[in-house]
């Protein structure tokens, strides 16, 4: 029982592939493209679990290889050698996530998803921003030249931000909807450009595109998928829950480092 044998069996090689994949995503900071921040703890837990399983496979009591007397050992044998020890093609299957990640690169969801899924214009999403400041012009907002930075969610949730008077700044992707995608009660001619953002809860699979109708000169000429920072004022359209954003100034920006808005 005191002697241990260090050996990498086929199952250990499989776990090594998953350790590599998890490590790359976690330590490379690529999780922001796929998961909400709180899921990082699950990822770390998964990594620890994989490490423990890997260690248990590598460090084996020597006697276990030679003698199998009890039922657990029989069970272990049947599991380990028939299924956990994969045929060589299983390695290729396990490598698939890594291969896809390397070929395609880390990418957030984009306009193609908006075209397939359609748009959500009246969501009940929470805002990730602290909007509790009473005068909305506190310190730390200098970079916005008097505009209050908010996100699309906050425009819907906080009435004072969409009263038509408060200067606000939002970031989003340009999206030009087809007439059939225009929000209900809105004239398609009045909604030729949307500022859009994906909001997620747990992972990209549950992310939904939300948007605000943007009105302003030259917006129709901006290509779809471009990230912009727009400064202006927001107001609710008459008789509707839909918020319209009247753009006073707009500039292209690089894709944000955290590409998703987060729910509560």
């Amino acid at each position: 029982m005191n002697k241990f044998n260090l050996k990498l069996d086929p199952a250990s090689y499989s776990l090594l592939i998953w350790l590599l994949f998890f490590g790359l995503i976690l330590f490379g900071g690529f999780h922001v493209y796929y998961l909400a921040p709180f899921q990082v703890w699950m990822l770390i837990m998964g990594l620890v679990g994989l490490l423990m399983m890997f260690s248990a496979g590598v460090i084996k009591p020597v006697e276990e290889h030679g003698h199998c007397h009890d039922h657990d050992c029989h069970h272990h044998e049947s599991h380990d050698h028939e299924q956990a020890a994969p045929r060589s093609e299983r390695y290729f299957l396990y490598l698939l996530p890594l291969v896809l990640f390397m070929f395609v690169g880390p990418q957030p969801l984009g306009v193609q998803v908006m075209q397939v899924k359609g748009m959500f214009t009246a969501p009940d999403w929470g805002s990730g921003l602290d909007v509790s400041q009473p005068d909305l012009t506190g310190p730390g907002l200098d970079g916005y030249e008097g505009y209050f930075p908010t996100d699309l969610q906050a425009l819907y949730r906080i009435p004072r931000l969409a009263n038509g008077r408060q200067p606000v700044t939002v970031e989003g992707m340009i999206y030009h909807p087809e007439a059939s995608e225009t929000p209900k009660d809105v004239n398609p001619d009045d909604a030729q450009t949307l500022l859009a953002h994906f909001a997620m809860v747990c992972c990209a699979a549950d992310a939904r595109p939300i948007s605000v109708v943007a009105v302003g000169d030259g917006l129709e000429d901006l290509p779809e998928g471009v990230w912009v920072q727009a400064h202006g004022r927001a107001e609710r359209m008459e008789g509707s829950m839909i918020v319209r954003f009247i753009v006073e100034r707009i500039e292209e920006i690089p894709e944000p480092s955290s590409p998703y808005l987060l729910s509560r």
């Binding site: 029982m1 399983m53 039922h71 069970h75 272990h76 599991h79 956990a84 747990c202 699979a205």
Partner: protein, 329 residues
């Protein structure tokens, strides 16, 4: 060649075809084709979210296997009689895991002698009838409690109904799993290994369990990612929002989207065009039956039984939703 070996051989065929198809697409499509980027993002996101839960499930299953006395669950079930079935649903509260981890735990419980009927209740109830899911449903619908209550009730009643209807006298478990359960039962009187050895065995078993389930999870996730990439919310509107078509459309969405039960309520809350029964159909069916779950059930049950259980689950959820619609008028 045994039946199970044959099924594994055929499965090894499809996963290779899937991988080959994706890799070929990578080679012939323009670099960074939009659909491929979307598919990859969905595929990796769901995998990264699901695998930690699968690891947790594998560790729980291995712990149960190594440390619980061999005939404990069987004796307990026998002692509780018919009350044991709803008791399992209630006990699911102490396993706050989503559907990605529940199949691994279910396999461990089966090996340890939990009767099939009880295990089915656990598999179907645990991903819904747990505090995390109920609370997230409450939050997603702005603390309007009827959605959470209807979901919890469905998560309690539907599994019991399915378990009572689905299980007959025929053999439904994979021969390998039945054989392992019998082996553990026959070794009930063997001596216990020392503690350090049992801890090592726990991790050794859990890694076997994990690697056993992973190809099935990956294939299910790939199918779900493809559905997410090519089928959007618009198709739901086309299919219908009627009294009958609405719940059916939402059940189809729940099956194909394969969302985590701890997050799906937030997605359901965005389907504002659907009424209460349709949303409840989505919330109740999704954690019990989706693409990745069907794939993972292949490591527990024979294919014929998976079909039967799936059909019964759909019918039971539809009946529950119809009853709900009738009650609320």
């Amino acid at each position: 060649m045994s039946e199970h070996t044959a099924s594994r051989e055929s499965f090894a065929g499809w996963d290779m075809y899937l991988m080959a198809a994706i890799l070929m697409a990578l080679m012939i499509m323009p670099y960074r084709a939009a659909w491929l980027a979307t598919f990859t993002t969905y595929f990796l996101a769901v995998l990264l979210e699901a695998i930690p839960f699968l690891i947790l499930g594998a560790i729980i299953a291995a712990t149960v296997e190594t440390f619980l006395p061999p005939d404990f669950l069987a004796r307990l079930a026998e002692r509780m009689g018919v009350l044991g079935v709803p008791a399992v649903a209630l006990a699911s509260v102490v396993f706050p895991i989503c559907e990605c981890g529940v199949v691994a735990v279910g396999r461990g419980l089966l090996r340890k002698g939990l009767p099939l009927r009880h295990t089915i209740v656990f598999l179907l109830a645990a991903p819904i009838f747990n505090p995390v899911v109920i609370f997230s449903t409450l939050v997603a619908f702005a603390y309007e409690p009827r959605f959470a209550i209807a979901r919890a009730l469905g998560g309690f009643l539907v599994p019991i109904a399915v378990a009572l209807m689905a299980v007959g006298n025929d053999e439904v478990l994979l021969p390998e799993l039945a054989q392992e359960a019998a082996m553990i039962e026959s070794a009930a009187n063997d001596h216990k290994p020392p503690m350090t050895r049992r801890i090592l065995m726990t991790f050794d078993h859990s890694r076997s369990e994990l690697l056993d389930m992973l190809p099935y999870l990956m294939f299910g996730v790939a199918c779900a990612a493809a559905m997410q990439t090519f089928l959007g919310g618009r198709i739901l509107t086309v299919v219908g929002q009627g009294t009958v078509s609405g719940p059916l459309a939402m059940m189809g969405a729940a099956f194909s989207l394969s969302l985590c039960s701890e997050a799906d309520a937030f997605v359901a809350s965005t389907f504002v065009q659907f009424d209460f029964p349709a949303i409840v159909a989505f919330l109740v069916l999704g954690p019990m039956l989706d693409i990745k779950l069907v794939m993972m059930y292949r490591k527990v049950f024979k294919t014929g039984f998976i079909w039967r259980m799936s059909l019964l689950t759909i019918v039971s959820v539809a009946a529950y939703v119809a009853a709900l619609a009738w009650v609320i008028g």
